[in-house]
């Protein structure tokens, strides 16, 4: 269970606060230049946070989902792009921790991730699959002890900066498009040829360029479980929870600015309620809703992890999808409220109340895995799954 008051959790948070302090000073430069948040990632390495999820016996801190979510929220308040890089890395680590622990090569790799503070990237999207990462066109070819893969990966976030890429493909050249595996390729085992440049409205520092990936590696680097299982049992929950924690961080920082703005006005004229005061109260309620949804999802995930049937049940997938929809939509309302409260000082760049970057970064939330696609999947499940109407179900 979640024990965020523990000494371990407190030191994790302290370490991330030091990273956040560095990330905050470079956040605008990262955003303007759409460049990798190098200073923040170097600081994560320095604080040994890239391996925090790895079990203690393999050299990590054995951080829980709750603890990693808190870390994402802390960094999200400083630099959303750096926080998203951290979250995406941790989502990849979760696949190793949840599905690779019984396999010698993958255990050894986890030791290396913790010891050498390796940064892991993900290559699940592919040209021609229409955004559905549970389908692949490319197939991995196993030839004796070697595997080879070529993939038109339309997005590999921080691909050129990563030390290894976890990449999905069909399990073999005759496999159905949904019969997938995930393979770890180390930096010296692949080449990347850039095909798309990431020049976007927000989240500019994730450098989510597209690449033609060509790799060759020992076949034992293929994760031993089918990707369908990895996706359903760890990736879905980790993605929606950690992304939501980053988004919460963006909204929480916007809220802090708006509250500071109104408090400053109240101090100047203590006899008069400032015009934005009611909106701060409204935004506070919305922010609390996002926080409650994330905490509830973490508790649900912690409970379900003990039971494989619960993890693969529709009720679990519906709950995680609902978290993503709710948090991605609500943060936009919150930041918009904050913009109304701070007015032109929020709209302008370079003021203590600037919210342009927050708003632009937050707009990615509805699109990174399109909410329409997620709602489509949820609506299909709701044709057979009856939602639990109890309060503590």
């Amino acid at each position: 269970m979640t024990v965020l008051g523990s000494a371990k959790a407190m030191t994790l948070c302290e370490r991330m606060r030091r990273v956040a302090a560095i990330a905050a000073t470079h956040a605008d430069a990262v955003d303007t230049a759409a460049r990798f948040p190098r200073e923040a990632v170097d600081a994560m390495r320095h604080e040994r946070l890239l391996g925090c999820q790895i079990p203690v016996e393999l050299g990590g801190d054995g951080a829980s989902v709750a603890e990693i979510s808190e870390l994402c929220a802390i960094l999200g308040q400083a630099c959303a792009a750096a926080a998203m890089v951290f979250a995406m890395h941790q989502i990849k680590v979760s696949s190793l921790v949840s599905h690779g622990e019984e396999d010698d090569w993958h255990r050894g790799f986890m030791v290396r991730v913790a010891a050498e503070q390796l940064l892991l990237a993900s290559a699940t999207t592919e040209g021609g699959i229409g955004g559905n990462l549970r389908n692949s066109i490319c197939a991995i070819e196993v030839d004796g002890d070697t595997c080879r893969l070529q993939k038109d990966a339309t997005v590999i976030s921080y691909g050129t900066e990563a030390d290894a890429i976890l990449i999905t493909s069909r399990a073999h050249p005759q496999a159905a498009s949904s019969d997938q595996v995930m393979t770890v390729f180390l930096k010296d085992q692949y080449t990347l040829e850039r095909t798309h440049v990431w020049d976007t409205l927000g989240m500019r520092g994730t450098c989510s360029d597209g690449f033609l990936f060509k790799g060759e590696a020992p076949a034992k680097q293929i994760l031993p479980r089918p990707f369908a299982e990895i996706a359903a049992q760890s990736m879905l929950a980790h993605s929606h929870i950690l992304w939501s924690a980053v988004w919460y961080g963006i909204a929480a920082d916007a809220f802090a600015k708006a509250q500071a703005f109104v408090r400053a006005a109240a101090r100047r004229s203590p006899d008069q309620a400032p015009p934005g005061a009611l909106r701060v109260a409204e935004a506070s309620a919305l922010l609390q809703g996002v926080k409650a949804s994330i905490v509830a999802a973490i508790e649900k995930y912690d409970a379900a992890r003990l039971d494989e049937d619960k993890l693969s049940a529709m009720s679990f997938a519906v709950a995680m999808n609902n978290l993503k929809i709710a948090s991605s939509q609500t943060i936009l309302s919150i930041i918009n409220h904050c913009m109304l409260i701070c007015g032109i000082l929020a709209y302008k760049n370079g003021t203590p109340y600037s919210l342009g970057r927050h708003l632009r970064d937050a707009h990615s939330a509805q699109l990174m895995i399109s909410n329409d696609r997620i709602l489509g999947n949820t609506s299909t499940m709701l044709l057979v799954h009856k939602q639990d109407t109890s309060l503590y179900g």
Binding site: S178, D179, A313
Partner: protein, 85 residues
């Protein structure tokens, strides 16, 4: 008609598999054969209609729909009056 034959027929018409269902053994992995999560829901709906059953929440998971045999056992559990094989 035995449940398993009905199940095979329903998979053939609603499973959207890229392979002929007749070539699949009762214990063959339907997901490996290309069953998508969307098609598995359509399959559930067709099975509920055909056998006049409702899958309880505990059965709405990957395992229940992982093979022709697993689906047939789930249906047999919910429709005890049907002929199993």
């Amino acid at each position: 008609m035995p449940i398993i034959e009905d199940v095979r027929q329903i998979i053939a018409s609603h499973g959207k598999l890229p392979v002929d269902v007749a070539t699949l053994a009762d214990d063959a992995d339907l997901y490996a054969a290309g069953l998508s999560s969307f098609a598995s829901v359509q399959l559930m709906l067709a099975l509920e209609e055909r056998f006049d059953i409702e899958f309880p929440e505990t059965m709405l998971n990957r395992k229940t729909f992982s093979s022709i045999g697993a689906i047939s056992s789930a249906v047999a559990e919910l429709a005890p009056d049907e002929q199993v094989a």
